[in-house]
């Protein structure tokens, strides 16, 4: 673990690691983070597993309203005559 005085392993820094993954940090902070990551194996684990976390939730299939539920929705809104009969769920 890198204990250099320029880095505190606090919530603010962790938030910045997440922003760093998005490329959403100023250049100066990006350099500081990259220098820190080169020395701190714990933070490398956090960044790598955080990146993997994002990959995994981005892959999740989206919940879809079933055809029956969609029909019930149109009925509850008194819109059944407008229910598209295109087979989409």
């Amino acid at each position: 673990v890198d204990d250099s005085p320029d880095i505190k392993h606090d919530r603010q820094f962790l938030t910045e690691l997440s922003a760093y993954l998005d490329g959403d940090v100023p250049d100066e902070l990006r350099l500081l983070i990259e220098q820190h990551l080169a020395r701190c194996s714990d933070c490398r684990v956090v960044v790598d597993t955080l990146r993997q976390t994002v990959t995994l939730y981005e892959r999740l299939p989206a919940p879809r309203l079933s055809a029956r539920a969609r029909e019930r929705l149109y009925q509850s809104l008194s819109l059944e005559k407008f229910l598209p009969r295109d087979g989409r769920a």
Binding site: R11, S18, A19, D42, P63, R64, L77, F82
Partner: protein, 199 residues
């Protein structure tokens, strides 16, 4: 017609009580509203109730929609409020997103430092891993969950998410990062256990 113009035209018809316009609105927005509701509520039936309530409330209050956000963002806001009301009824201690600064994630400092990135790809692509992640999303502290769902799963901009949840854009960014860190922590526990079970 541009998107803005077509939304204005749809709004004018909704305000005039045009049923076909209501159906168009449901057709355009029910999938997104359902995705949000499903991940906020514990089961499909409750999520369906939230969707129904969202459109009923929206059509009733359409004259009060001021157009400062898009119709879709406004519907997400109504859906989120409807979901919160239901969650509050079940758990009286529940607080809304805007009522807490702490967002309920404590210090959110990492405790799990197991490096699970190098597990075989097939360990990630299982129904069990997906179910664990869905459970983790549902268990996110309430102050973080809606921000995460709108910004990350629905793809709303920071500004639109802020408008839907009445938060500042900076607060949305902070909460999104905290939500990710919280999910990372939770998944680390799961994958660490999986790796240890295998020895």
């Amino acid at each position: 017609m541009t998107d803005v113009n077509s939304e204005q035209a749809l709004l004018a018809r909704l305000r005039a009580g045009d049923k076909a316009a209501c159906a168009e609105c449901v057709e355009q927005h029910s999938a997104g509203v359902y995705r949000l509701a499903r991940r906020l509520m514990k089961d499909e039936a409750e999520a369906e109730d939230v969707v129904q309530e969202t459109f009923l409330s929206a059509f009733k209050a359409i004259d009060r929609f001021d157009g400062r956000s898009t119709l879709g963002t406004w519907l997400y806001r109504i859906a989120h409020n409807a979901a919160l009301m239901r969650l509050r009824a079940g758990r009286p201690e529940t607080v809304s997103v805007e009522e807490t600064d702490d967002a309920g994630d404590g210090a959110a400092l990492p405790r799990q430092l197991f490096d699970w990135c190098c597990l075989p790809e097939q360990d990630f692509d299982t129904a069990e891993a997906r179910a664990e992640l869905e459970r983790a999303i549902r268990d996110l502290p309430q102050g973080l969950r809606a921000v995460f769902l709108l910004r990350q799963m629905e793809g709303l901009s920071t500004e639109a998410t802020a408008a839907a949840l009445e938060l500042s854009p900076d607060n949305v960014k902070q909460r999104l990062h905290r939500a990710r860190l919280w999910l990372r922590e939770r998944l680390s526990g799961y994958f660490s256990e999986l790796a240890h079970t295998r020895g």
